[in-house]
Symmetry: none
Subunit: 418 residues, 2 copies
């Protein structure tokens, strides 16, 4: 079964409000195995709403419409739907009783604005007779139309409790839909495309999607089928093929984040981590501490934004600073060793670089970043060149630094410095 979503409101087409109702409805329908073919937003005007409704009756088997059911003058969906579908507007007694109860309970006064909500297109069926929520359904030319309020909580409630179950009743059998996400860091999109260019065609039913989610890249595998087991098996096979090509660049699946993966590894191996941040300015610590329970492995660190702070807090030597500059391999290593020592941690991680937009030189342009890592009896460092704006360079530096921890603890090969 396939259908579409129509969201109504001037606030949507003027960009004042993000259309989270369309997003929610699309997600719930898709997760149920129903197919969404289109999402359309139009303003609160008769002509646009009529047009899009009539088009939907031609193209879809079901239509979810949200918005314009309230009591203010710009709420006109009931009238417009009635006129677009050539049905008279009738007073729904059940809805009217419900509104009267609501008004009485709250000691309010009945008004035209309240009554207005009870006038609906002929043969409309209230979605939720017991709750104080607008919303009705209609069947026109075998197309099921669901009119929901634009208030997100009410819309979501009706979507979950009424619309989805009602649609499922119409389906004799729904396919199984399975969805996987593989998260990559350290490869650009064209390289990923190239490395996957020889994927076997045998799983032609699997839809692959590629999504840059700065600074990560995500690959999605989606498959519909009738049998849960064979769907899972086919996805397993494809995931193996992708993993054999992209190897250690895949750092997580599903909802996991880089900082979550690194945290889990540290916890499992009973290791503690400390960070020395220069150009990232606290971002690595911030990411790490977004993970609940991170105090179990993250001891803290220092933000050493000035040379003085690097010397005072980490014991970085003035000679090395003078000889190599703050953005250099030796300083990254001294910072990593210093923060490990000062915080008595198992792993010391350091970043020093030029985030931009100022501060670049010919030898060390904006985006030049050194990462240092002290673990066991070794201290590593490496140079990278990022190409973004200030915040992007900070983010890439932070995630690359965390990826170093992941690779060292996994005994994975390192990413080549650039």
């Amino acid at each position: 079964m396939y259908g579409e979503i129509i969201t109504i409101g001037d606030e949507l087409i003027s960009g004042r409000v993000v259309d989270l109702n369309a997003w929610y409805a699309a997600g719930r329908l898709t997760a149920t195995g129903l197919r969404v073919i289109r999402v359309t937003s139009v303003g609160d005007d008769q002509e646009s709403i009529s047009k899009v409704l009539q088009k939907a009756l031609k193209d879809s088997q079901f239509v979810i419409i949200t918005g314009g059911l309230g009591s203010t003058d710009d709420d006109m969906t009931n009238e417009i739907a009635a006129s677009a579908l050539n049905r008279p507007l009738c007073l729904d007694e059940e809805m009217f009783e419900q509104i009267k109860d609501y008004v009485a309970l709250r000691g309010l006064k009945m008004s035209r604005a309240f009554e207005k909500m009870a006038w609906m297109p002929e043969d409309a069926k209230i979605l939720c007779p017991k709750e104080n929520v607008c919303g009705f359904s209609l069947v026109e030319d075998r197309v099921r139309l669901y009119f929901l309020p634009g208030v997100p909580e009410q819309m979501r409630y009706l979507m979950d409790e009424i619309v989805i179950p009602d649609l499922l009743l119409q389906c004799t059998s729904l396919p199984t839909v399975r969805h996987r996400v593989l998260k990559l860091y350290g490869l650009n999109e064209p390289s990923i495309a190239e490395m996957l260019s020889d994927l076997p065609e045998k799983s032609a039913n699997i839809i692959l999607g590629f999504y840059p989610r700065f600074p990560e890249n995500h690959i999605t595998l989606s498959l519909r089928g009738d049998d849960q087991l064979s769907v899972a098996g086919e996805l397993d096979g494809m995931e193996r093929e992708i993993r054999s090509r992209l190897g250690s660049f895949i750092f997580a699946t599903g909802d996991q984040s880089m900082e979550g993966v690194v945290g889990e590894m540290l916890l499992q191996k009973k290791l503690t981590l400390s960070v020395a941040e220069s150009c990232t300015g606290g971002l690595i610590g911030n990411l790490l501490t977004n993970v609940p329970g991170s105090s179990g492995y993250f001891l803290g660190g220092v933000i050493v934004y000035s040379n003085q702070a690097k010397m005072d807090l980490l014991g970085v030597s003035k000679q090395a600073l003078d000889a190599y500059g703050a953005v250099s391999d030796p300083i990254a290593r001294e910072m990593a060793a210093g923060v490990r020592r000062e915080l008595k941690a198992d792993v010391g991680l350091a970043v020093t670089g030029i985030a931009g937009p100022e501060g670049g030189t010919k030898e060390k342009p904006v985006g030049t970043v050194y990462i240092g890592l002290a673990f066991k009896d070794k201290t590593f460092s490496g140079k990278y060149r990022f190409w973004g704006k200030r915040e992007q360079n900070k983010m890439n530096s932070a995630v690359m630094a965390l990826d170093w921890v992941r690779r060292v603890l996994n005994e994975n090969p390192f990413l080549p410095g650039l």
Copy 2:
């Protein structure tokens, strides 16, 4: 002039991703005085894209299309547009050169995936010949079509720098639309509504909008008119009325951020800042260093996630930790004084609290946060209770801490601790 927005991507109609591109484009077009009549999202398939393009050619004067311009196999907008508009796909030499430069500069290898991006419908004009950004425009039956990438940063850049100016060239006269944003911190929405309930009606043409932008609240003032001067004057009057009611809670206007405002004040007063972060884990440093030039006043700080680190790095006393616990007024003050001393800064700022979800007690539930500030001969501290999830509590703590710096430097009254 009126037009529409088409966003392309399976991730949009399946609800995996919120359509922020449509929201951004709609907002920018509307703010410019152009009218958006419809927003449509369709999946990555030939039929849907063709249909919606052809409908747009009938209904609109301009069309913004985003998505499907990348290098992977699911990026098919170029081909589909060519076929829907009956134009052959041609290799654009300028774009191809640009891609070759990009590949060479980064030491990558030219591949089919890269080359693909240079094939465009006949007579397409590249939007941005100098930057590494896909995107082209076409004119078909006097309708202007702009094809933009789905990557939000690139899409926004092209929208602002190329598409809007190009559309404005086509308009003979547009009404003046002026838009102001006042940013507030420390008041909830119902309180703001209450405090503004007696605003004078005289500026009835001004549309006021209220938008929670966690943890801030934004008030927008919008006015359309033919005369620039009188529009500005009316807005000035309304802004004065609002400021007289909300006073020091308004921390910024327009594009300014809390960290930007604080940075400017420090720079102007030639003061330096250092931070000691416990529950915020580096977030304050991260926010401060998102501002270009922040090294001019931000010296750095420490992330002291463990009690040991608080003692080792800041000289916080064991007795105080034992007596009051790490989340307490005395510790917030010791941290602030300690980080000011260790980093030789003018201002020392500290946060210690319980971000959650674990770690709360009856006396100190999740969301309990102490802020400390050392400046001149005084050390302040104060207690707050935030009610969000972990990341929200971190963000509220960080912004409240920065707001303390703003209020102290402004000699504003403090926010009451809760």
